[in-house]
């Protein structure tokens, strides 16, 4: 066809107009014949969405209930990747694990989310802080719920951490090879308490103020570093240069303390705790998953190390 449209041997010169006309006709023809076919194909394709490119780009494996897919479901998911594909059959027993580690982590996430939202409304200044809390309580939609959830989740988290530690001790899960992870856990416990403690001051009310005053007054007595502690005076400690001053940014709980408390609460400690948490989880995997429930050992089977 293109040949015929050119300056053919016949010498018959086909006008430009003619050629354009023919071309357009052809285009219309193709629209008529191709589009229905393509539409049909498209609809056919939609019948099985798991085969679409979008789907397969997200989900890398099939979901037929095969052992392989079960494993892949965990392995190929960034969030579930914390877990191994398969675990000890009894490790799912709640009576053994108490689920406290998971609950702690879950509460940490809840706290992060509610905390971030609270940060939208809160200014860590002496003038604003208390008003902001009142504002949250009275004006912000769901503000009261938000604050309540943040506070109670924090308390719940402290309890969960304690119970987690309690369980880990009772099942002897700190024993070789998990000694180091136990230590990380102890640090996480400390940071959990510190997180909660630094948050206590933020509403800038009497409760927080005096709790923090009592709490930090103890720092005054740090041996050597507090002005009231043993040897403090000998080392030149005064209320204006001791460790309490460093913690509060002043000799009394005031604007600086509020700001410090805020920054530790929202940035400092969460970052450190998150890093430690990552290490903690990673070590759980590396140390061979959770310790149990393991088969009981008999005293007679213990191999005494050689001296």
């Amino acid at each position: 066809m293109p040949e015929e449209n050119g300056n053919g041997n016949n010498g018959k010169r086909v006008g430009l107009l003619e050629r354009v006309k023919a071309g357009v006709k052809e285009d219309v023809q193709s629209l008529r014949s191709d589009m229905p076919a393509k539409a049909k194909e498209q609809i056919e394709g939609l019948k099985d969405p798991t085969k679409t490119q979008v789907y397969t780009s997200i989900f890398r494996h099939k979901h037929d209930d095969t052992p392989r897919n079960r494993a892949l479901g965990v392995l190929s998911n960034v969030f579930l990747h914390l877990h191994p594909a398969k675990i000890n059959r009894d490790a799912v027993r709640y009576s053994y694990t108490w689920g406290m580690g998971g609950i702690t982590f879950y509460l940490f996430i809840v706290l992060t989310l509610t905390g971030v939202m609270l940060m939208f409304y809160y200014h860590p200044s002496k003038v604003q802080a208390f008003r902001d809390v009142l504002y949250l309580e009275h004006d912000v939609p769901f503000g009261k719920l938000l604050r309540n959830m943040h506070r109670w989740a924090a308390h719940l988290m402290v309890i969960a951490v304690w119970l987690h530690m309690f369980r880990v001790f009772l099942t002897g899960s700190y024993k070789k090879p998990r000694e180091f992870n136990w230590n990380i856990g102890v640090l996480l416990l400390v940071f959990t308490l510190l997180l909660s403690f630094t948050g206590y001051l933020l509403p800038d009310d009497q409760l927080g103020f005096w709790a923090v005053t009592v709490g930090t007054n103890m720092a005054r007595a740090t041996p050597g570093l507090g002005n009231e502690g043993p040897f403090g005076h000998m080392l030149g400690m005064t209320p204006y240069n001791d460790v309490r001053f460093g913690l509060l940014g002043g000799s009394i709980v005031d604007a600086n303390a509020l700001l410090r408390s805020y920054i530790w609460h929202c940035i400092g400690i969460p970052i450190v705790a998150s890093v430690l948490m990552i290490v903690h989880f990673w070590r759980v995997r590396k140390d061979g998953g959770i310790s149990g429930p393991a088969a009981v050992m008999l005293a007679s089977e213990v191999k005494e190390p050689k001296k």
């Binding site: 059959r89 009894d90 799912v92 027993r93 008003r131 504002y135 309580e137 009275h138 719920l145």
Partner: protein, 1085 residues
């Protein structure tokens, strides 16, 4: 162990049921959270729904009532006239109006047609012009300009609404457009003019309706109804950023600002007997006038009422009635406490009914001597001011010495300077310093002046106890101290619950430290005359006499029923004659009482008074008066003796019947007494030897209301008061029980109100159950307050808070209102209201007395418009000497015919100024006052005025005093000769036109003049000379009165057949005028 199952439970167990249940519960909690957020936390929504129903129902009934009364108004003939006028007017203008309206409609259509084309073309021209302006090359500009010109020349077709077309170029188009628009403007203006009479008539109708309707008109109510019915539940809030006020009170109190007066009863649902909580919440503000001056949009609600304005989650939260809110809603009975947060500087904050409690609380705080023990910002400032002045003086002295030294130095340097320039410069500096010293001298003099004033202003609530030996029956003192209210039930002296031993020691100290100077012996007087004087001179405006039902008189000062049992006659005479007369002056610098011996040492006469108030020893200002507010009534010594004789006879038992109290001479007891006097702070209210500089023993109360509740010591009743219920009332004494404003506690009373009320009802209540030593027990005495007084004081204390509002909210006016503010402190200090009515709602003690029921003209004058009435300079002179004379002082200067006497208060210059300014400001008079010039009357006018003044129809001289003693006996109004100096002419004219409007109930009748041909014409028969006089008769009369001379007055009186007016009164009058003049020069120290 249970048997092992076939299938692996871990793998085979289904959690579907768990999931379903957990999911369901989770959903429920989520919905619960949602519900809580939108309803649980928003109870005001329910309020608004209920409000909508009830308020609509109320408006419906109000609507029918209103339309009924509107109908009533519309049946009024006046209204019908107006309506007729309206109809006539609209009828007259109708043809022209219709025509104009049609023309305007047509024109508008035409304008639209032109406008469409014109704006399109103008836009194109504008775009081209922009290109021209931004074109760089000259040639380009030229060609663009051509384009524009060409375009403008092109014709465009406009199709008018009537169908015809016309072509215009751009300029024509623009012109057509503008001229059409002009035309329309003109027509509209004309339409407005044409319609003017119609709109005016309709306005008149609606004004008439609203003027004659007591409540709202049906149209207004319809507006409210519509608003109510269309209401969507939403938060209603007042937000004042500058004061950090966010008040959402009106989200529930929906009717707070409604224009109708809405009570709980009308918002009650039908069939309910008692208004429920909703009904109470939906009342309108009970004092809408208050909201006019305190616009809620600026002030919010919480600055006055407190509570948590932001909170909307529950009634308790919103009202701030929960544990951790520091500013709970003021209780209803103490609502006026809120006034104090801005009006702390006011002594008197009453407007109509509002503010009586807080004002009375403030008054009581001073009057009952609370400030003797408790500092409170603004109260009893004089001692503090004196201290600060003394310090300033010291500084100035030092500065002067320094300046003199430096100046001498500089001059020395100048003498030795190397160049003339240098010498001149140094000399100038030296001179400048010397000038500075003279300025300091000026300041020092002012401060000395201030000191003089302050010493004069300084008062004590209780009597001077340095005079006990001269004044009192020795044996009476211990009986009195035991329980003052037993002797005198209405006394201000509180009960300190002293032990017998304490009483002995205290009275011993007082007795032994008292003056022993000799008093002049006084002759006995006439009891009958004394009684008459006591009852008529005005003593009863402050003092009372009689007990129980027989009690008459005021509560400001002591009840004198048993004064004969305690007082010494000679002292009493001196006291009545002039209470301010001191036995010995006191020198605060030396801290000693100065006696004749000190004066003798310097060879000075033993004379001390306000003019001779310098210490003979060191030249410091002396306290030369008794620190009492009791004034001098300018009585003759004989009159004073008569009154004293009458009073000394007032007793229930003989003074000698008191048990001998010889222990009071025991010097050992005296020493201990000193300790107890200091312990109980007696010197807060009394002058006592050796305690002149004693400080206050109580806590400062300026911010008592915002003291943390933990700091208020409920002692053993902390728990009880928190729990309330049976047995939580600690007060057991029935007398004190009866003082509690709301009776014995039932509900928890662990709050400021509860603390104050209990403390005031029984000041030692918090000692109950405690084991304490004599010096540890609570010292606050029982003031025998009534329920109402406790309520008022509690209100005052509750309001005494550190204000969280910005300073601009404090009521500290800089203008005339400040004079009013300051004046009240003085007015209430001296109990001016005992005799004078200052505001229409206030009544005086004397007004209520039987004696004056039938003789109201004998009452002291009302001062409702005093500032407008009198010349301020005259007022100052009058206040400093109300007799207006230096010799003839046993009388009233203005109203000699009154039995009751305007006393001499010996006001300091300071207080005189405050009072004068106060009266001027109270009547909205400008300060300073520049007297209006009264035109000099022509002889003819003078004759006319005289003939009117002396005609029998004009009864002026019947009542007004003339100076003729015969006539003045029956006179009931002041002498006209005083008018010129005393009155303001404009006021005088207003006065004679309608005195009842200025001083309701005055003896001066209204209706003396009537309005005729736009002039005030005398309403009686006028003398013939008035024929054809076309000015105000009232003005003529006032001018005449202001020019009246004693001679003229005598002449007139004589012509009226009072030839008795001899020469004597004439002389007296002359004298009086001269005296006034001398008084004025004396007064302006």
């Amino acid at each position: 162990m249970s048997p092992v199952p076939e299938k692996d439970p871990i793998v085979s167990k289904s959690y579907a049921a768990h999931y379903v249940i957990a999911m369901l519960i989770l959903m429920v909690t989520l919905f619960w959270a949602l519900w809580d957020e939108s309803f649980g936390q928003r109870p005001w929504k329910t309020f608004q729904h209920v409000w909508k129903d009830r308020y609509s129902a109320f408006l419906n009934s109000a609507r029918s009532k209103s339309s009924q009364s509107e109908k009533g108004v519309e049946q009024n003939s006046q209204y019908q006239q107006l309506e007729q006028a309206y109809k006539d007017a609209s009828e007259t203008v109708r043809p022209r109006r219709d025509e104009l309206q049609k023309q305007i409609t047509d024109l508008s259509a035409k304008i639209l047609a032109v406008q469409n084309v014109f704006t399109d073309r103008r836009a194109y021209v504008n775009a081209l012009t922009y290109e021209l302006e931004t074109e760089n090359s000259a040639s380009g500009k030229k060609s663009k300009q051509q384009d524009i010109d060409e375009y403008k020349k092109k014709k465009a077709t406009v199709e008018f609404p009537d169908g015809h077309r016309q072509q215009y170029n751009f300029a024509e188009l623009e012109e057509t457009y503008n001229s059409l628009k002009d035309q329309r403007t003109k027509l509209s203006a004309e339409l407005g003019d044409v319609l003017k009479p119609v709109t005016e008539a309709s306005n008149k109708m609606s004004t008439f309706v609203s003027d004659h309707m007591v409540d709202l008109t049906p149209t207004q109510i319809d507006g409210l109804k519509k608003k109510t019915e269309e209401w969507d539940p939403k938060i209603v809030q007042i937000n004042v950023a500058e004061a950090n006020i966010v008040d959402r009170c009106e989200s529930c109190h929906m009717n707070a600002r409604e224009p109708l007066q809405i009570t709980a009863a009308v918002m009650n649902p039908k069939g309910e007997k008692r208004p429920d909580d909703y009904a109470h919440a939906f009342t309108s503000h009970p004092e809408p006038e208050l909201l006019q001056t305190h616009d809620p949009d600026k002030f919010g609600c919480s600055p006055c009422h407190q509570g948590n304005g932001r909170a909307t989650t529950s009634v308790e939260k919103a009202h701030g009635n929960y544990e951790h809110w520091l500013w709970p809603l003021f209780p209803k009975q103490n609502a006026e406490a809120g006034c104090q947060s801005c009006h702390a500087a006011d002594m008197h904050v009453a407007v109509g009914d509002v503010g009586q409690h807080i004002s009375n609380g403030k008054f009581l705080f001073r009057q009952r001597g609370c400030m003797g023990c408790h500092r409170y910002e603004g109260y009893d400032k004089e001692p503090e001011d004196l201290t600060s002045i003394a310090q300033q003086l010291k500084l100035f002295e030092q500065q002067k010495i320094d300046n003199a030294k430096i100046s001498a130095d500089l001059m020395k340097q100048a003498d030795a300077a190397s160049s003339n320039d240098e010498a001149n410069r140094l000399n100038q500096q030296a001179v400048a310093l010397r000038v500075a010293n003279s300025k300091i001298d000026g300041r020092v003099q002012q401060l000395d002046f201030q000191t003089h004033s302050l010493m004069q202003d300084m008062k004590k609530i209780g009597p001077n106890l340095k005079d006990v030996r001269l004044k009192l029956n020795r044996d009476w003192i211990p009986i009195w101290l035991k329980k003052p209210s037993d002797f005198r039930p209405t006394t201000k002296m509180p009960n300190f619950r002293l032990s017998d031993h304490q009483i002995q020691t205290i009275s011993a100290y007082l007795w032994q430290s008292g003056f022993t100077d000799a008093l002049p012996k006084q002759k006995p007087g006439n009891v009958e005359h004394g009684k008459l004087l006591f009852e008529t001179r005005g003593c009863l405006a402050c003092h009372s006499i009689g007990e129980g039902d027989q009690l008459q008189g005021g509560t400001f000062a002591a009840n004198l029923t048993r004064v004969g049992e305690k007082a010494n006659y000679d002292y009493l005479v001196r006291w009545i004659h002039n209470a301010r007369e001191r036995t010995r002056p006191y020198c605060p610098y030396e801290k000693k009482d100065i006696g004749a011996e000190d004066y003798a040492k310097k060879g000075l006469p033993y004379q001390f008074d306000l003019e001779h108030s310098q210490c003979p020893n060191d030249g410091h200002e002396l306290q030369v008066q008794n620190m009492t507010v009791m004034p001098s009534l300018r009585l003759t010594p004989e009159d004073a003796q008569d009154i004293a004789t009458y009073l000394i006879g007032q007793k229930k038992q003989e003074p000698s019947a008191y048990a001998q109290a010889s222990f009071m001479e025991d010097p050992e007891l005296k020493e201990e007494g000193k300790k107890w006097i200091r312990h109980y702070g007696c010197a807060g209210c009394h002058e006592i030897s050796g305690f002149e500089d004693e400080g206050r023993i109580g806590t400062e109360l300026t911010y008592e209301g915002s003291k943390p509740i933990e700091r208020l010591d409920f002692a053993l009743f902390t728990e009880n008061s928190q729990r309330g219920g049976k047995g939580s009332e600690p007060i057991t004494d029935p007398e004190d029980w009866a003082r509690l404003p709301e009776g014995p506690a039932k509900k928890p009373w662990y709050d400021h109100k509860g603390f104050f009320e209990h403390k005031l009802a029984e000041p030692n209540v918090y000692d109950q159950g405690k084991v304490k030593s004599e010096t540890e027990v609570l010292r606050m005495p029982n003031l025998h307050l009534s329920k109402l007084e406790i309520q008022d004081l509690t209100t005052f204390l509750l309001g005494s808070q550190e204000s969280s509002l910005p300073p601009s909210y404090q009521y500290k006016p800089g203008d005339a209102r400040r004079d009013i503010q300051e004046g009240w402190w003085v007015v209430e200090k001296y109990n001016c209201m005992g005799c004078h009515q200052l505001t229409p709602e206030q009544s005086t003690i004397l007004m209520g007395m039987k004696r004056y029921q039938d003789a109201q003209e004998q009452l002291p004058p009302k001062l409702l418009t005093e500032g407008a009435r009198v010349d301020p300079e005259w007022l100052r002179r009058f206040l400093s000497n109300p007799s207006l004379s230096t010799t003839d002082t046993n009388r009233n200067g203005v109203r000699p015919y009154l039995q009751v006497r305007m006393p001499t208060f010996s006001f300091s210059d300071n207080e005189l100024r405050k009072l004068v300014r106060f009266f001027q400001a109270l009547s909205q008079q400008p300060m300073p006052y520049i007297p209006e010039q009264v035109p000099v009357l022509s002889t003819k006018e003078n004759d006319m005025a005289r003939s009117l003044f002396s005609s029998t129809a004009a009864p002026c001289l019947k009542c007004h005093a003339t100076g003729d003693p015969q006539h003045d006996k029956i006179a009931t109004a002041p002498n006209f000769l005083l008018a010129r100096e005393r009155l303001k002419p404009d006021w005088a004219e207003r006065w004679i036109l309608d005195p009842q409007a200025i001083s309701p109930g005055t003896a001066m009748p209204s209706g003396l003049f009537k309005r005729e041909n736009n002039h005030w014409v005398f309403s009686g028969p006028t003398p013939p000379s008035f024929q054809g006089y076309d000015k105000d008769h009232s003005k003529l009369l006032v001018d005449y009165i202001f020019q009246l001379t004693p001679e003229e007055q005598r002449r007139v009186a004589a012509s009226m057949g009072r030839s008795q007016a001899s020469f004597q009164p004439r002389n007296q009058q002359k004298q009086a005028v001269r005296q006034t003049e001398t008084a004025s020069t004396d007064g302006s120290r």
